[in-house]
């Protein structure tokens, strides 16, 4: 089908006795010459638009690199490993922010993945047709809520809930405080709050990819498992999920990409403290939140440059993560359509 589109039909160069021209009112000769010229202009214009995309990405990379260069140059590799973030004395290390980004994203994926896979399996295997649309719509709409609205909700609803109920429950009622992860003072504003809000935010991304992948699993796979006497769960575990595995992993990595770069909601609930703490109840920082939080009050050029250098690290990490996710999803859809 697409080769008709790809190979241009020969521009008609017939002279005399030619088939009818378009009824568009062009003169015969002029129409043909005009169309050849028009085709060239058209092809050139859309080529320029297409080239805008790589150029844009290159400009983005360049801008962040330029803005972060003074700090990257000054601190070198120690910028990644140092945990000193001290604007007053001009010492900057991104380790706390990198740590916070990784941990908060990990919490988000740990919470969101089972829910996302659960709801996708429910939609593809159990839900009656009338329920499918609304449930899928409800989950997908989560992606439409702006980050800043999640932030407001987090500040006024989630944080008080954590402070008064969830953290005391985990720490004291369940006595989890023996583990450093669940010990320490309870501020509400914490890594845990950021992780939970991120979990809600990445849920729709993982769920929609998993749903598509599960729906693409051939009926024969399910029927074969059921015909062998498998229960529904054994069919899901033995036939459905293995078949859809790499697609689901692609969806999870896509969700990871979202979680890594999420800014506003995290800035509003994580407490913004540049320390690496073992406790999930302690305030922390992420790469995106350190930039958003300190940008407007950056003291001096080095501080500003250090923030941009953090942005550069974030840029590189998300590019890698997204490239892996896309590659996985593409790989699945390609082998899926062949097999």
């Amino acid at each position: 089908m697409s080769d008709v589109v790809a190979t241009p039909p020969a521009v008609p160069t017939v002279k005399g006795g030619a088939p009818a021209t378009s009824s568009g009112g062009d003169g015969f000769e002029g129409g043909i010459e005009g169309s050849a010229l028009g085709d060239r202009i058209y092809a050139g214009v859309i080529w320029v638009f297409a080239i805008c995309v790589p150029v844009l990405l290159a400009l983005i990379a360049l801008s962040i690199f330029l803005a972060g260069w003074p700090a990257l140059h000054r601190f070198g590799l120690s910028f990644l490993t140092s945990s000193a973030w001290d604007p007053v004395n001009g010492k900057f290390g991104a380790a706390p922010a990198i740590y916070g980004t990784l941990v908060s994203s990990a919490i988000a994926l740990l919470v969101a993945t089972p829910l996302a896979i659960g709801v996708s399996v429910f939609l593809s295997e159990f839900a009656p047709p009338w329920l499918r649309q609304p449930v899928a719509f409800f989950v997908d709409l989560l992606a439409a809520i702006p980050s800043v609205v999640y932030g407001v909700w987090g500040i006024f609803v989630l944080i008080p809930l954590l402070r008064t109920a969830l953290i005391p429950f985990l720490r004291d009622t369940l006595h989890l405080s023996v583990i450093p992860l669940f010990s320490g003072p309870n501020y509400g504003y914490s890594m845990l709050a950021a992780g939970l809000i991120l979990a809600i935010m990445v849920l729709p991304y993982i769920a929609s990819v998993s749903r598509e992948v599960l729906l693409a699993v051939p009926r024969s796979q399910r029927e074969a498992a059921l015909a062998l006497g498998a229960t529904k769960w054994e069919m899901i575990r033995g036939a459905l999920l293995p078949y859809a595995k790499s697609g689901i992993i692609g969806g999870i990595i896509l969700g990871l990409g979202r979680a890594l770069g999420e800014t506003m909601a995290v800035t509003m609930v994580i407490g913004n403290r540049p320390e690496i703490s073992a406790s999930l109840f302690a305030p922390a920082y992420t790469m995106a939140s350190v930039i958003a939080n300190e940008f407007s009050e950056a003291s001096g050029d080095l501080h500003l440059s250090a923030l941009m250098a953090v942005g550069f690290v974030l840029f590189v990490i998300t590019i890698i993560v997204n490239a892996i996710a896309r590659w996985l999803v593409w790989e699945v859809s390609r082998t899926g359509s062949k097999g």
């Binding site: 008709v4 983005i60 829910l115 506003m264 509003m268």
Partner: protein, 301 residues
């Protein structure tokens, strides 16, 4: 006369075991199905809870003056977000002006040059761009449009948001253009239409409903973006429509109010959130409606 067949003890044991294992497997099945249903219920709860709170805390402040009044100073009740709402509309317009033509053009290229190296590269880069954190777009616009001129501006915000729209619009345009039946294209070409006229007047027009949907979805996604605006438009507590000056925006105002210590401003933040969500949901609904019947009524005229 043979005796009726009776199971041996070994057979009996085997059946007993099988029954036992079946019972266990069925129990596991029941538990897991229960967990799956529970996950589905849990996954639908956040949307209900969040919109519920928005209505509970925000609806009271969404009155006529919210849309017409300017923000009041800290501590004073009432006031509105007229400047922020106008600012957001201006920013969306700027972003569309910048992002839509490039996005649609790039999408056309992707659809018409399928399989070429450049098209594959551009498609991949679109997906990479789409996954970039929005804060990165803010830094980009700040470095090139704010830093050199030493002041924040609506322009810079429009460019940052427009840059976010490009990959989304390009990909939906590509998809919509490539599902236009080839026969339509062939018919136009057979009638002597030039390729460029076929593409612009026949193919693009047939795909227009889908492209509009894609554009609306992109607009819905950038309308609530806050992070890029921190670096570009900054916010403004006064009424400004100048594109060369800092400008107010609804998401920014929500952020400033939500993190402020004043009760009145918290109420305003909730109200702003409610207005923003309603705006985004309405745009999304229009987008859904626009594609409906695309291939039943669209090809008729």
């Amino acid at each position: 006369m043979s005796e009726p067949l009776r199971p041996s003890t070994a057979q009996k044991q085997f059946t007993a075991k099988a029954v036992q294992s079946l019972r266990r497997r069925k129990a596991v099945n029941g538990v897991m199905v229960g967990l799956i249903v529970a996950a589905a219920v849990l996954a639908t709860i956040p949307l209900i809870v969040i919109t519920g709170y928005l209505i509970k805390f925000g609806a009271g402040s969404v009155q006529w003056h919210f849309f017409t009044n300017m923000p009041k100073p800290e501590g004073e009740a009432g006031g509105g977000m007229a400047n922020a709402i106008v600012g957001t509309v201006i920013l969306i317009a700027l972003a569309s002006l910048f992002g839509l033509p490039i996005g649609v053009g790039a999408g056309l290229y992707l659809a018409e040059h399928r399989g070429t190296k450049l098209a594959n590269t551009v498609r991949f880069l679109c997906d990479v761009l789409n996954g970039l954190p929005s804060i990165v777009m803010g830094i980009f616009a700040w470095q090139f449009l704010v830093r050199p001129v030493h002041h924040f501006s609506a322009w810079a915000g429009g460019v940052a948001l427009g840059a976010m729209m490009i990959p989304m619009v390009a990909r939906t345009t590509e998809e919509m253009v490539s599902i236009v039946p080839v026969s339509l294209r062939e018919a136009a070409l057979a009638l002597g239409y030039a390729r460029w006229r076929t593409s612009l007047t026949i193919v693009l027009r047939t795909a227009s409903a889908g492209i509009v949907t894609g554009a609306l979805v992109a607009i819905a996604r950038i309308a609530g973006e806050t992070a890029p605006l921190l670096f570009t438009v900054l916010g403004n507590s006064f009424f400004s429509t100048s594109l060369n000056q800092p400008i107010a925006a609804l998401p920014l105002q929500i952020f400033y109010y939500g993190t402020s210590p004043y009760e009145d401003q918290h109420a305003q933040a909730w109200a702003g959130g409610l207005v923003l969500i309603v705006l985004i949901f309405v745009i999304s609904l229009i987008a859904r409606y626009a594609t409906r019947g695309q291939f039943t009524g669209g090809g008729g005229d």
